[in-house]
């Protein structure tokens, strides 16, 4: 197997002391970020990108550090779900349903352990899925021309708007805003300034890091200010108890983990779905299949195992389109894409050919990080739970200040800080109005590529628009985009977790 050979080389890259150390730091940091309410994989990674960028690490170590944080945050989200009934991040929402009742009935330790193992199973097998699926996708992607890429980008926006949001018009608006922001600055092909309003600072365009940190991290601070620090840290009176799960419970939940992993991975690979949907589908499916005695929702360990396996598998699955096509499927992978772009790496099929060391080193690091996370999380769950005692009223100001440090470190310009604050306020308003932020980010990130491919296609065909629909591949992508946008309008009710519509989800961050 070709992939296995590459993976072997990847391990050779990842297994240096420096990279192992970075993976460890990333896992630890990620778990803490995931556990803290209000900080999740997307805004946690968003804050860290500019910091890592200014550290001047080479691409592979920087990637290893940040993806470890990403995986770690996926693990950590469950801790506050189980102990406090507050999801640490949106994908962990479903874990509250059975995790918190388990904790209430004195099984907090078991719930943490089962969810930790489920997370491991989900992430581990999803990473294997990534190893085998990504190269296949790359083979298809190599056939893509500019027209197909343009259709693919449209598909990403359409499914993101269709599947992951409650109101298609708002998702379209969000995508438009993001793309519009990406247009600001000097046009790369003809050298004329666009939407710059005569302000010199705008000629360079808006730095996407500024937009991401503002939209994801600062808006969270404003949400906290709005609720005036309600949701105080706990004094952790919930007794954790034993953190080694009994063998019977493991046997009981193994099926749930397997089903959760498969469903989660598929949900992750599909563009626009992401980890929240992965955990939701895994939980609902498990409940339909196994809930005979009505134990789900009252502390059934299977109700903890399935969504946790689901959301971690989805996190791995979401990396497939992100690495192979350069099109992220969820908010967090959009942030990871930003990280790659900041490091001057354009993901996509060519990345696998020109920089196999980056790709396979990263994948190997995912395996290593995953095992580290399992080792960290089973015995140390109690320790991580202590992190929850930091009251948000100290935490959120610190988060705001670190965001400023990161952006100032990247550009050293006061103007960028002001733009970031503007994005923070915009993010708060959009969140209040239920306009999803992920399409905005995706628009900012992909706008340039999208336009470039469109214009390249038009240059090749000399302005004939029919070239966009010329190949069967592009026709397939276009029809998928249309179906992805319209179908959820008809069956959307069944796809969206009802809990996520409630108030509880408002403050939680987009996956």
């Amino acid at each position: 197997m070709d992939a296995l050979g590459h993976l072997w080389e990847g391990f050779a890259i990842a297994l240096t002391w420096q990279n192992l150390g970075l993976a460890f730091v990333g896992c630890l940091l990620g778990t803490i970020i995931g556990a803290l309410p209000g900080l999740g994989p997307s805004n946690g990674v968003a804050i860290l990108i500019p910091l890592v960028f200014t550290l001047g690490l080479p691409a592979t170590p920087a990637l290893i550090l940040l993806t470890s944080v990403y995986y770690g945050a996926m693990y950590g989200g469950r801790i506050s779900s189980i102990l406090l009934n507050i999801p640490g991040d949106e994908p962990a929402l479903m874990t509250t349903l059975d995790g918190y009742p388990m904790a209430r009935s004195g099984q907090a330790g078991e719930a943490l352990a089962i969810s930790g193992i489920a997370s491991f199973v989900g992430a581990f097998f999803a990473t294997w899925g990534l190893v085998f699926l990504a190269p296949q996708l790359v083979r298809v992607a190599l056939l893509f021309g500019p027209a197909e890429y343009f259709a693919l980008f449209t598909l990403a926006f359409a499914t993101l708007g269709g599947v992951a949001s409650r109101n298609q018009a708002k998702a379209a608006l969000a995508a438009g805003l993001g793309l519009g922001i990406a247009m600001i600055g000097v046009d790369g092909q003809t050298g004329v300034p666009r939407f710059s309003f005569g302000i010199v600072h705008f000629y360079d365009g808006i730095n996407f890091l500024v937009a991401i940190v503002g939209l994801f991290a600062l808006s969270e601070v404003f949400i906290f200010l709005e609720h005036r620090g309600s949701g105080e840290g706990t004094d952790s009176r919930t007794r954790i108890g034993r953190t080694i799960p009994p063998a019977t419970m493991l046997r009981q939940t193994s099926g749930s983990m397997a089903r959760g992993t498969i469903l989660g991975f598929v949900a992750g690979v599909l563009p626009g779905a992401g980890a929240s949907l992965g955990s939701f589908i895994a939980y609902t499916f498990e409940k339909r299949l196994k809930d005979r005695g009505g134990t789900f929702g009252r502390g059934d360990p299977r109700g903890v195992a399935a969504p946790e396996a689901g959301n971690n598998a989805a996190a791995g699955g979401a990396l497939v389109p992100m690495l192979a096509l350069g099109v992220p499927g969820s908010g967090t992978t959009a942030v990871l894409l930003a990280m790659l772009l900041a490091l001057n790496i354009q993901p996509g099929p060519l990345l696998f050919q020109s920089n196999p060391d980056v790709v396979w080193g990263l994948i190997a690091a995912l395996f290593i990080g995953n095992i580290m996370l399992l080792i960290l999380n089973i015995p140390m769950a109690g320790l991580f739970a202590r992190v929850l005692m930091i009251p948000p009223r100290y935490l959120m100001p610190a988060v705001a200040m670190i965001s400023f440090v990161g952006i100032y470190g990247v550009s050293g310009s006061t103007f960028d800080l002001l733009v970031m604050i503007a994005f923070g306020v915009l993010g708060w308003v959009l969140r209040k109005l239920d306009v999803p932020l992920v399409p905005v980010i995706l628009g900012v990130l992909l706008g340039d590529q999208m336009e470039k491919n469109l214009r390249r296609a038009m240059t090749i065909s000399d302005g004939d628009l029919a070239a966009l629909f010329a190949s069967p591949l592009s026709i397939g992508l276009w029809s998928a985009a249309v179906i992805g946008f319209i179908l959820p309008l008809l069956i959307g009710r069944y796809l969206r977790p009802r809990v996520a519509d409630s108030q509880k989800a408002e403050g939680s961050d987009p996956d």
Binding site: L51, F195, E226, F404, K432, M458, D462
Partner: protein
């Protein structure tokens, strides 16, 4: 009128679309030219925003739970403090500016003033120690170098 927020959002989107169309029309065409030119894609985006705006205007969602007036002022003040922070950073130096800004935010999140001040200084010094000293990031210097 019900669902006012979303109607305003829709109207704003239509306004933004109009603004974009106008700004697109004033883009200077350069002598270097490709078949599509620099105007086409922004025009398409503006149309998408406009259509989305009309859709939101016609079919608004239920009204979101806006906070009271006091809370909105709170957020505006916090944004103002952040803007002032960004402006003063190069002049006052990182540690002083950050202490004040962090202390303000902690104070506004219901901490007694004295404890908030201490917390602000601790946050500022901790960030300075970790990012400035250990990781060697370039922080704003100010007149006294920190």
């Amino acid at each position: 009128m019900q669902n006012l927020s979303d109607r305003i959002l829709g109207a704003c989107a239509i306004l933004i679309a109009a603004l974009m169309l106008w700004q697109t029309s004033v883009i200077q065409e350069s002598f270097i030219q490709d078949p599509l030119g620099p105007k086409a894609f922004p025009t398409v985006i503006a149309i998408v925003i406009g259509i989305a705006g009309v859709a939101i205007l016609l079919r608004p969602d239920a009204e979101p739970s806006w906070p009271g007036f006091g809370r909105i002022v709170e957020i505006a003040l916090a944004a103002a403090v952040m803007i002032a922070y960004a402006q003063l950073l190069p002049m006052a130096g990182f540690v002083l500016a950050t202490s004040v800004a962090a202390a303000y935010l902690v104070w506004r999140l219901e901490t007694p003033p004295l404890r908030a001040m201490v917390a602000g200084i601790v946050i500022s010094l901790a960030i300075y120690a970790v990012f400035g000293r250990i990781l060697g990031l370039s922080l704003a210097k100010g007149p006294w170098g920190f």
